[in-house]
């Protein structure tokens, strides 16, 4: 099975914990006509990490880098969830049963239902298990 088509490139941006930083990032992406499909902010003591799925990750990466931001690519996967009670449980259980650890995750509820973005320790393993369990993984081409 070609698992690579399910690996999505997320951009992560190091950000100081002070007003205006998210605005600066969002403004830069808007200027480049880059669409943000999903994002989250993780907060630690004194700093944060902004994570986003965008339609043009390379362009976003280069733009932010040129502005002096610390930017990195990270591989994540996206799973379709039922937008109803128990939807998250189904996906989480598949991974839990398979012994795959979720490092972090965030979700969005789009036009075609809810999507869970996952950063896991074993990407290949996770993709295999989710596919065989019958759940739907979104392909990279959906995002970029």
């Amino acid at each position: 099975m070609d698992t690579q088509k399910y690996v999505i490139r997320q951009i992560s941006i190091f950000s100081e914990n002070r007003p205006g930083r998210l605005a600066a990032i969002a403004h830069a992406l808007g200027e480049e006509k880059i669409n943000i499909l999903a994002f989250s902010i993780a907060e630690a003591n004194g700093f944060g990490v902004v994570r986003a799925l965008v339609d043009h990750p390379e362009k976003a990466h280069d733009k932010l880098l040129s502005l002096g931001f610390n930017v990195a690519f990270t591989d994540v996967i996206a799973v379709k969830m039922k937008d109803q009670p128990g939807g998250l449980y189904e996906v989480a259980k598949i991974l839990g049963d398979a012994g795959v650890n979720i490092e972090y995750s965030y979700a969005y509820s789009g036009k075609e239902g809810a999507v869970l973005i996952l950063r896991v320790d074993m990407v290949e393993e996770a993709i295999q298990k989710i596919k065989t369990s019958g759940a739907t993984l979104l392909e990279r081409s959906v995002f970029h």
């Binding site: 992560s12 190091f14 004194g46 700093f47 990490v49 931001f69």
Partner: protein
């Protein structure tokens, strides 16, 4: 020649101290009796010349600061009349009003003697051609070195600063064996020479650099020596003492401070208490023979360490190490002296962070709180929060080990800390004391 004046330079320490005591005693009597400024200062400190009964009693005398000269601009605390003066020098006044220094003929002679000993100690003498590329004029560097070099019988090439290509041509044509200038100007000369196709090593006779008037490091010394094939010596002084006065000898282990001219103390800049030799503190100098502008316990603001052992060269006078920082930059955090240069040094060894930093000091409750803000390097960011936390812990750990004080570290985005073209201002002290 080994020493310019072996009788003085190699005098047993005990005899040197006796000489210093006599000079100090007569200086204090003279100032107390004839100078309203010094008389007033000693009264305020509740000290009388009779209280000076041994050399260590110098620490009963009041301190002098740069501001004493500024406040008394231009010549209010001179102890000679204008008729007795033979020269003025004026400092550039980068940190405020300029300061004026006046010299009697004896003052110029002492200064020149000091440099004659110093230049001899680093191997220069008759037969040498010394190119003086310090500025001539109000600045003390050019004229000071000029007279010192003439006194030892060397031939002076008084090029002053500027017109670098011509300096290099003259260096070649007249066979300069030594150059006196700032280390940064010598680097510039080296670069211009390369562009002109002149190899300082092969195409000139240059073998000695007498470099000072700005701080420089041992790393820079190695670079200059390896690149230009010369021995590079540091020279120390400031216009308040007369000008550049003291150099390293060929051992390159600190400046010899001539005891008959200057009495050195190292003090704790916080408390003003005298420190032992070997301890780091603020350089404080009493000029024992100056006539026009005596300096008593003058706190120069430079941080160094005194070494009172007899030097391998045979000279008995105490030495001070190369200058390690400025008191103005020093912070006292929970009673511990902290220098921004220590922070800089610790950060240099951590590739995950950049070299720019900012120190923010606040008082939280009764305690000082020191925060170091430093930029997370590009390439050391990996999306993982735990990785970033580890970098921060590593920086905190290193700083704590080298400063002996607890430090909080904040990682900031690359390029977000202020950059400085001139003198960096890296400390924000929010404590209101």
């Amino acid at each position: 020649m080994r020493s310019w004046d072996p009788r003085i330079e190699e005098m047993p320490k005990e005899d040197l101290r006796k000489m210093q005591y006599k000079l100090l005693k007569s200086l204090v009597y003279r100032l107390y009796s004839f100078s309203p400024f010094y008389h007033e200062r000693m009264k305020e400190q509740n000290v009388h010349p009779d209280d000076i009964r041994e050399l260590s009693d110098v620490n009963k005398l009041p301190f002098m600061f740069k501001r004493d000269l500024r406040d008394n601009y231009p010549d209010k605390i001179f102890t000679s009349t204008q008729e007795e003066l033979v020269r003025y020098h004026v400092s550039s006044g980068t940190t405020g009003k300029p300061t004026v220094v006046g010299y009697t003929q004896n003052d110029l002679d002492s200064w020149t003697t000091s440099l004659a000993r110093a230049l001899t100690s680093l191997g220069l003498g008759r037969g040498d051609v010394i190119q003086v590329s310090y500025g001539y004029g109000l600045f003390t560097g050019g004229l000071g070195l000029h007279y010192g070099a003439e006194r030892i019988g060397a031939t002076v090439l008084p090029t002053s600063v500027g017109n670098t290509e011509r300096q290099i041509e003259l260096m070649q044509d007249l066979g300069a064996t030594a150059i006196a200038c700032t280390p940064s100007y010598l680097l510039h000369i080296g670069e211009v020479a390369e562009k002109m196709g002149v190899d300082i090593r092969k195409d000139t006779k240059l073998r000695t650099g007498v470099l000072g008037a700005e701080p420089w490091t041992d790393r820079m010394r190695t670079r200059i020596e390896d690149w230009l094939g010369i021995k590079a010596y540091d020279i120390y002084g400031t216009s308040e003492l007369s000008g550049p006065m003291f150099t390293e000898c060929t051992e390159q282990k600190g400046f010899h401070i001539w005891s008959d001219l200057a009495l050195v103390e190292i003090i704790d800049p916080g408390t003003g208490e005298s420190l032992e030799s070997g301890e780091k503190g603020e350089l404080t100098i009493t000029m024992l023979q100056k006539e026009a502008l005596p300096m008593i316990r003058y706190r120069i603001g430079d941080i160094t360490i005194m070494d009172d052992e007899v030097c391998a060269c045979g000279r008995t006078h105490p030495r001070i190490q190369r200058i390690q920082g400025r008191v103005d930059d020093m912070l006292i955090i929970r009673g511990i002296n902290v220098f921004p240069s220590q922070v800089e040094y610790a950060l240099m060894g951590i590739p995950e962070v950049g070299q720019h930093f900012q120190i923010v000091v606040e008082r939280k409750g009764a305690l000082d709180d020191m925060l170091v803000r430093v930029e997370l390097s590009k390439g050391s960011f990996s999306d993982k929060i735990t990785d970033i936390m580890k970098v921060r812990q590593k920086v905190e750990h290193r700083l704590r080990n080298s400063l002996n004080v607890n430090v909080n570290v904040e990682l900031v985005e690359p390029g977000s800390l202020p950059r400085f073209e001139g003198k960096a201002k890296r400390v924000i002290d929010k404590r209101s004391l």
